[in-house]
Symmetry: C2
Subunit: 141 residues, 2 copies
DNA sequence: AGATAAAAAGATGTTTATATCTTTTATGAT
DNA sequence: ATCATAAAAGATATAAACATCTTTTTATCT
């Protein structure tokens, strides 16, 4: 479903939402250790998220990555699309170039419902929503 | 969602269901041209499907791949799992090793519903069901 | 039996995804 | 102003997926 980069991105963004703020930035190393993922690879992912404006960062001493309040109001869908590309929820399940409700592939009508359900779920769910839920339900990352 | 091999497999199986029979086997080349996919690569996929007992084949002159009536009664889910592995519908969306309804990752409860919907759809839908629908609705492959 | 056709199997190449390392640049602290 | 710190950027390495080619095996027909 999601690429590994994307999975890391989702977890990292939520971790930052919970543990960072404008006044308390976090380094890649710390995030990587918390999530138990390869640091240099996570750095790439965070840089891309930063370049796409989904997370914030500053260089230099006491710098690091963080989420502003504005960042936290973005949808999880944007996070996913920022890494795996905008077509992940809309491209044909069978990889056919022409596939739409007008010209459906054999799986289109039946399967698209479920994928769109997931898409809309992630569209509605903001980073903040998710992190609040994680704190309340004591979920793991 | 599905790997390229898996997409090819789905399309090839359906093509065989529609165009082949025990008395009319089809060569890889013919299938590859019909679906417009690379022949040698499709051959690998068909071989794996054959080895896993999802499609039938015979060697030699007038040999080729085909679907017996018994083959056609298998679910599309088996086709998918035969190529992409049995975990494709059940592994954690975030790639966490421990993730279940008892110990859910942040996306688990909400997202799993949709993926399971797709899984059950493919479980119910046999190869024959799908090919009949394709013929009736004149869908493309 | 020999020729042939086609899958099966194996070897190899190419591309993309994943992962790591090194250098550069910007920032805050002294 | 200088130094230390940490992200950004670039270069490189490894693994997996994707793709192709070649050889072998097997079945069928003559």
């Amino acid at each position: 479903m999601f690429s590994k980069s994307c999975k890391y991105a989702i977890r990292a963004v939520v971790h930052l939402a919970i543990h960072s703020s404008e006044s308390h930035k976090i380094g890649v190393k710390e995030v990587a250790e918390a999530l138990d993922v390869p640091g240099p690879f996570l750095a790439k992912v965070l840089q891309q998220l930063s370049k796409n404006g989904l997370i914030s960062s500053t260089k230099g001493p006491s710098g690091g990555f963080y989420l502003s309040e504005r960042d936290k109001s973005a949808s999880m869908r944007k996070v996913v699309e920022s890494i795996d590309g905008p077509d992940i929820f809309t491209s044909c399940l069978l990889g056919l170039p022409v596939c739409s409700s007008a010209n459906p592939c054999p799986l289109h009508d039946k399967a698209v419902i479920y994928r769109e359900g997931l898409m809309y779920l992630l569209t509605r769910q903001t980073i903040k929503d998710l992190s609040v839920r994680i704190i309340n339900d004591e979920l793991i990352l």
